[in-house]
């Protein structure tokens, strides 16, 4: 098991380098350069000034030289400085955004799991009942309704008409002078709308998946055996069926790891939440290469690690897999 793990970990390095090479090339192939984005169509800027700025960012060198110097810095875990006019270290920009996105996504994910799993099980157990159909309609409604539209409606209702909740942002003005409890309450009020809308929108996938695996398990012979043994329906479903149906969810969870640091641009824009989605979008629009590369590399790393964790988790949970690889 240990050697297997080590082997997998070592394999990650060439994979990451490959991914970074592809992304580096693609982002440089996109028309426009950071300097142009900042200076184009501005009468006050001379061609010489533009050239000086290109030199400053090292954009005058051939692409492979730029890539190699980037790679050299990355080897020392130095993400470099942003090409935006503030020139701040990329890692600093990412660091100040990650907590918000991460906590929002973790809360949403926990809520999503907490709701989607029981919903899925319920729908499977009472397959084709009226309840099952109602659930289907409900989760697909969440899936189909454009989040931004729902968000705007709810913001208008609770923020403007009723005045119960703040419209957007994370903190009220002057919240820094509040005590810890009041401050948390203020934050919770701000998070209520975005978190519930995000959860509502993502219920469909997880709950349908849960329903399908649960149905599959419920048709197995050992469930029939358990029922024949005279076990109560509750024990049959939660002890025998549910645990086996949970297995595939581990894979899903592994896949959702990189998603935890990625945010939705539209969502963050509407709620004025300073998260990773906005940062990445601004980076791409401004052709801020170091920032874009930094976020992509972290995302790629997390994806690979997520896959690895899913495999390991699977092996731990399912003896057949564990022993098969032994």
């Amino acid at each position: 098991m240990i050697t297997y793990l080590l082997k997998r970990l070592v394999m990650l390095v060439p994979l990451l380098v490959g991914i970074s090479l592809v992304t580096f090339t693609v982002i440089h192939l996109a028309p426009g350069e950071p300097v142009e984005m900042q200076t184009s169509l501005n009468p006050k800027i001379s061609a010489a000034a533009r050239e000086r700025m290109r030199e400053f960012y090292g954009l005058d060198k051939p692409l492979y030289v730029q890539y190699l110097s980037w790679l050299k810095r990355m080897a020392k875990l130095d993400f470099g400085r942003s090409f935006a006019p503030d020139g701040r270290p990329v890692i600093e920009k990412i660091r100040e955004r990650i907590p918000v996105t991460l906590s929002l996504n973790v809360i949403s994910l926990v809520l999503e799991m907490g709701l989607a799993i029981p919903i899925g099980v319920l729908a499977a157990v009472r397959r084709n009942s009226r309840l099952d159909r109602a659930i289907t309609v409900f989760v697909f409604l969440g899936f189909a309704v454009p989040t931004f539209w729902l968000a705007l409606l709810l913001m208008y209702l609770f923020g403007v008409q009723l005045g119960w909740l703040p419209v957007s942002g994370l903190h009220s003005l002057g919240s820094d002078r509040l005590g810890l409890l009041a401050w948390s309450w203020d934050l919770a009020k701000h998070l209520l709308l975005p978190v519930s809308i995000a959860t509502f929108g993502s219920l469909a996938g997880m709950s349908r998946y849960m329903r399908a695996t649960m149905l599959e398990v419920l048709n197995q012979d050992y469930i029939t055996t358990a029922r024949a043994k005279g076990l109560s329906e509750r024990v049959v479903i939660w002890r025998h069926a549910f645990r086996n149906a949970l297995l595939p969810l581990i894979t899903l969870l592994g896949f959702s790891l990189p998603g935890l640091i990625g945010g939705s641009v539209i969502f963050e824009t509407i709620f004025a939440i300073p998260g990773m989605g906005q940062l990445f979008y601004q980076g791409v629009m401004g052709r801020d290469y170091p920032l874009v590369m930094g976020i992509l590399v972290i995302g790629a790393g997390l994806t690979l690690i997520g896959n690895l964790l899913a495999d390991v988790g699977y092996a731990l949970a399912d003896p057949r897999i564990r022993h098969g690889r032994g």
């Binding site: 028309p31 426009g32 142009e36 984005m37 900042q38 200076t39 184009s40 169509l41 501005n42 009468p43 006050k44 800027i45 001379s46 061609a47 010489a48 000034a49 533009r50 000086r52 700025m53 400053f56 960012y57 935006a84 006019p85 503030d86 020139g87 701040r88 920009k93 100040e96 955004r97 918000v100 659930i135 409900f138 729902l150 705007l152 409606l153 208008y156 209702l157 923020g159 403007v160 008409q161 005045g163 703040p166 419209v167 957007s168 942002g169 994370l170 009220s172 003005l173 002057g174 509502f200 963050e268 824009t269 509407i270 004025a272 300073p274 998260g275 906005q278 940062l279 629009m285 052709r287």
Partner: protein, 538 residues
């Protein structure tokens, strides 16, 4: 059952959405009273500043903040005339080559150090330093020598008289004592600026807000409003809801919001709306290198076939005015008597016939069997420009011209089309700077790749007039040059100048002392106040 609960909720909220305006509980008092210190103003912004060292910034959000923290040597007053700021006064030598600035005494940086000519000299030097990645070295490069003979005098000499030079000294002056000998690109001042201006930096919560506090030792006196909170709200509908919910005091409205969504009695009770021409215009530019547009009569015909008033109505809901040239109506360089080609489709057809274009049996404009068709290019993300292009498309179709519209993402719009001259016509906008110099956009030396005269306009008389206008400080002489240029542009129609939109700011009614002027409303921000009993924040 969460499902039922949620469906009920959704239903309620749709109902509420149809409910229209409901009177707000929170009422803002319009109470009048004497000017008083205190309160805060919360301003909404779509973008976040990039850096608070204005020398390195190119975005408007950065300048919103920097404008309150820093001063230049000169500035534009409420009538868009240059006046002294950190410079008490200035003299221009009779040959127009030397400008001597007499600096204000007793001005203090916000950290207590005195402001002197050393700061000005430093700002000049760091701007032209090749290691500084700044966009603003162009005008300063014209300077031959710069010297600071004593702490309160600063003198620059130019190789040739250069009228836009004076305005370039409106750039923010940076604190030499904090920056000298350091790498400006890594300076902490980009996040914690120290200036001489009316507001000092307090905090910046990335992605959320910036807070400034009034600077009590400001040389023009302590500003009335104690705090300036700049909230970053990237979506304009969200911003509008925040305004209605009472958590924003100021934002810029869109024409639809101004004309349709902010007209209720309740809204007008709580907010004051303002409206004045913005400093910019939108145009339809023709690629003059393209044989299709090389004939002046064709361009005149196209302008005659476009109803500019209808575009102002349709795109801006009337919140703007028709543009006839590159200047803002009402400023000294603007020629109010300009002869323009008003909407007249019959004249358009006549002019096209003179140029050899005839309508064939299907009503399509043709010349030697080739139909008149071209593509209007515009950038993605600007609805007003797209709608403008659509109205033009519809109007030109009526005289048998087939127009296609192509919308391209900004970066590739510039790189693949504008910079390379690879376009037929485009809808774009220019900012109108208070100094009327037209060199960069209209001089024939600026037609190269990546330069701003991308339509390729070449006219020797215009070149001569531009040169004359920028080498004299005499406003009367300059005006004559620019009026003549407007006449030529109106005849040549290298662009169809379309409209100058209106700026539509809205400010909470609790703020008093706002006096709209040609420069807008912000020029006297430090004199805005909230009477004691109307103050909302402590």
């Amino acid at each position: 059952m969460p499902g039922r609960w949620f469906a009920a909720l959704l239903f309620c909220c749709i109902l509420a959405g149809c409910n229209g305006d409901k009177p707000q509980e929170r009422r803002i008092s319009r109470s009048s009273g004497p000017p008083a210190y205190g309160d805060a103003i919360v301003v909404g912004s779509i973008g976040e500043p990039s850096t608070l060292i204005p020398l390195l910034a190119t975005d408007s959000a950065s300048f919103d903040i920097a404008g309150l923290v820093y001063n230049g040597l000169v500035r534009y007053d409420k009538n868009l005339k240059l006046e002294g700021d950190l410079a008490r006064s200035w003299d221009v030598s009779p040959d127009g080559l030397t400008i001597t600035f007499h600096l204000r005494r007793g001005v203090k940086w916000q950290d207590g150090v005195e402001f002197t000519s050393r700061d000005v000299l430093y700002t000049y030097r760091v701007t032209i330093d090749p290691k500084t990645p700044t966009a603003y070295s162009g005008d300063f490069k014209q300077v031959k020598t710069a010297e600071a003979p004593d702490p309160y005098t600063f003198r620059v000499t130019y190789a040739r008289p250069f009228a836009p030079a004076l305005a370039s000294w409106g750039n923010a002056i940076l604190p030499a004592h904090l920056l000298e000998g350091k790498d400006i690109t890594k300076s902490d001042l980009s996040r914690h600026p120290v200036g001489t201006g009316p507001y000092r930096f307090k905090e910046w919560v990335p992605g959320q807000k910036l807070v400034l506090e009034s600077y009590h030792d400001y040389y023009e006196g302590r500003p009335y409003i104690d705090r300036y909170v700049y909230r970053i709200i990237p979506d304009s509908s969200t911003m509008y809801m925040e305004l209605k919910a009472g958590s924003l005091d100021r934002m810029g409205l869109t024409p639809v919001q101004y004309a349709r969504q902010t007209t209720s009695r309740e809204f007008l009770d709580r907010f004051n709306k303002f409206r004045y021409p913005a400093s910019g215009y939108t145009f339809l530019g023709y690629n003059l290198r393209n044989p299709l547009f090389s004939d002046r009569r064709v361009r005149q015909a196209l302008t005659s076939a476009i109803d500019k008033k209808e575009i102002v109505q349709g795109v801006l809901l009337g919140m703007g005015q028709v543009a006839r040239g590159p200047y803002k109506p009402g400023t000294w360089a603007y020629d109010p008597h300009i002869h323009d080609f008003d909407y007249d489709p019959a004249r358009a057809v006549r002019l096209l016939a003179e140029a050899g274009w005839q309508r064939n049996g299907d009503g399509i404009m043709e010349k030697n069997g080739r139909p008149f068709q071209f593509t209007i290019l515009t950038n993605q993300g600007n609805d007003q420009r797209l709608r403008t292009a659509q109205i033009i498309q519809w109007r030109l179709k009526q005289i048998g011209i087939d127009v296609k519209i192509r919308v391209v993402e900004w970066a590739s719009f510039l790189k693949n089309f504008v910079d390379t001259g690879n376009f037929e016509a485009l809808v774009l906008g220019w900012t109108i700077s208070p100094d009327p110099d037209l060199y960069d956009v209209w001089d024939s030396s600026k037609t190269g790749p990546k330069e701003l005269n991308f339509v390729g306009f070449k006219n020797s008389e215009v070149d001569r007039l531009i040169a004359e206008g920028r080498t004299t400080f005499d406003q009367g002489k300059r005006r004559r040059c620019y009026w003549r240029i407007q006449e030529i542009l109106a005849k040549e129609q290298p662009y169809t100048f379309l409209y100058v939109p209106d700026e539509l700011p809205v400010v909470s009614a609790r703020f008093h002392g706002i006096r709209p002027a040609p420069a807008g409303i912000d020029y006297n921000f430090i004199r805005w106040y909230v009477p004691k009993e109307g103050q909302l924040y402590q």
